[in-house]
Subunit: 383 residues, 2 copies
């Protein structure tokens, strides 16, 4: 069996690493000649809108999937007509556009921050009054890792934000003063069988995920699962979906969903019975899903902009190294480390060592508290 | 960093799957055009004695290793002169020849069954008297999975055995009426740091490994480790080594060693903190070794000759599927399943289900008791 993946980045690479043991082979469509999944399969090098390559991808593959939600609508349409693609076009459409996504959340009675569409400068003026400030102006499509966003703290910020983002279709969202950020990674099989991983507690810096910690037994688990299940069922979803949420008090507000394997689920490679990557493949192939139960406690730290020295990091007990084979560039996700431990105390101790080794190499905002401190705060809330 | 591997079979494939997360790339030398590791790296297709390809392998790779011990001596010599190869030529030489291997065991005072070299028909006659029957006549080199062996039960068997094996350099070994077979997987780093996995308890059928079960806390662990440590230190070994042993009462007799990752260590992918594959790579690269502590209890069942239907196997909780991407052929190792559980009871229950699914597809000797029964006996001894 050959799995065709639109995109050949680290998510495709980790899908392939999980897929070879299942007896699968892979073909990737990616415009980058040095796509980091390329050594693990056949690489079709070209644009995501290249009809000839899309046709070739569909012809080579027994089943199709993607590693990012910004696949052009037309390309999804072409692939859907040519082969079996999971998750389906509806799921992709809902996740691609922040307005459609939040409208779907609201329709399913999943709490969301206040939001409204902004297409003109006049819309923005009205929206700022209606939503109130602070608020976040975002492009409806193509945003990721905090890109395509502007924070509006007071009325004086509107001009600059409009100058930067105006022209694109936008959405204004109320700023949520959250206690912590969590995500739930869910997987739904072709028969509707649905499983959830323990919550991930996430720490972002400058819109980019830096740290995820698995939270087996988290008090918000059931609520998060309920929201994710409604989405999966509504979309007749097949595969892995990540739902990111803000917690304020006892409430969870949906932030966004990703119709794919997700950075906040990378810890599942070592920290769960079956990884999110293997389960995504099992789901789209119609195989029984693997158990999502935790194997101890796990945390994942992203390597951003630069890789730390491997020796000291690997000397921390329980650490696993995941390099993506990408060229170093400021702000680029180059890999991650997962720390797994049998109990929370060991996880905590190992994470202190790990963060001390990684932080000096990272390029965080100097105005922000270090990751270790942020983790301390989040952990106190989560326990 | 590029790792060059002599051999492109399933061991090379699993090394590569463990190596990509470490940021490695791979080049394989293998004469088979459909070598199953080939999709995971560059494949140099040609003989193990092809000087031009050996030179190319050494030129492409930063570090060299191999997935089988029968690499021609001359090739090892060539590669050793051209690059950094681990384990070293001495280790390979000792493991390649059963006489050298057993002589080394004896020199290190590691108990072995009685043995003697057999080069002529007259040698065989004398050896049968000296060792006593039953005994096993084996080729000194190139034997694996029970190939190149003949069991001598009485004097009448000598002619047939000689007709089959005579001409090659041989060894006659006393037949050991063992209680069970175990192996210890050890890894030694460049600095001499040495770690051991929990013992594997192994069940063979017709000389081929069928079942390995991890035995954390086994009473024979320390003794097995002592023997393996002597070998590793003596050989100034770098990488993973497997030592197979027969247990009779409270004694362990060394059967053979493999200077490489080993089938009886495949359960370490899910059942240990760090797999044997990752640790072999960490060792030869000079990285810190990863913890070898068990993660619960694990068992591995080989898929031989045919792959079972994946659906029912994957529906057994805790099962992981490992297909090697090889064409089916009677007696060929095509893959394995690993079962991991948090306790022995769950392992036992899962293994019963798993064996029931796999045995009907296997091609065991009808005269032998089924695997499940053999496991029962071995487990009773081990607990």
């Amino acid at each position: 069996m050959i799995v065709g993946i639109v995109g050949g980045g680290q998510l495709a690479r980790m899908l392939a690493l999980a897929g070879y043991p299942l007896g699968l082979n892979f073909v990737f469509l990616d415009p980058a000649p040095d796509a980091c999944a390329a050594p693990l399969g056949e690489h079709l090098c070209g644009g995501y809108d290249d009809r000839a390559l899309l046709a070739r991808l569909a012809a080579r593959a027994d089943v199709l999937t993607y590693e990012f939600e910004n696949v052009p609508e037309k390309s999804v349409e072409i692939l859907s007509a040519l082969g079996s693609i999971h998750p389906n076009a509806n799921a992709l459409a809902a996740a691609r556009d922040r307005l459609a996504e939040k409208t779907l959340f609201r329709e399913l009675e999943i709490p969301v921050p206040p939001f409204t569409a902004v297409d003109t400068r006049a819309d923005l003026e009205r929206a700022a009054v209606r939503i109130g400030l602070p608020a976040v102006l975002k492009t409806r499509t193509l945003g990721y890792d905090g890109k395509g966003q502007a924070v509006l703290r007071n009325a004086g910020d509107l001009d600059a934000a409009w100058a930067r983002l105006g022209g694109a279709r936008l959405i204004l969202e109320g700023f949520v003063p959250f206690d912590r950020e969590v995500s739930v990674i869910a997987v739904r099989g072709r028969t509707g069988e649905t499983l959830f991983y323990p919550l991930s507690e996430n720490t972002h810096q400058d819109g980019v995920l830096r740290l995820s910690v698995s939270r087996p037994g988290d008090p918000m688990q059931v609520l998060a699962e309920n929201y994710a299940r409604q989405l999966l069922d509504k979309l007749e979803y097949v595969g892995v979906l990540a739902l990111e949420l803000f917690q304020t008090g006892g409430t969870l507000l949906a932030s966004e969903m990703a119709p794919r394997v997700h950075n906040s689920g990378h810890w599942t490679i070592e920290g769960a019975q079956t990884s999110q990557f293997e389960n995504h493949l099992r789901a789209i192939l119609g195989l029984p899903l693997g158990a999502t139960a935790p194997v101890g406690y796990a945390a994942m730290v992203n390597f951003i902009g630069t890789l730390p020295d491997a020796g000291p990091v690997l000397a921390v007990p329980g650490v696993h190294w995941h390099a993506y084979g990408k060229r170093a560039r400021p702000g680029r996700k180059l890999g991650h480390a997962t720390l797994r431990a049998d109990n929370r105390q060991d996880l905590r101790a190992g994470l202190d060592r790990l963060l001390a080794l990684i932080e000096p190499n990272a390029d965080p905002d100097p105005g922000k508290p270090p990751l270790a401190r942020q983790f301390e705060v989040a952990a106190a809330l989560g326990e």
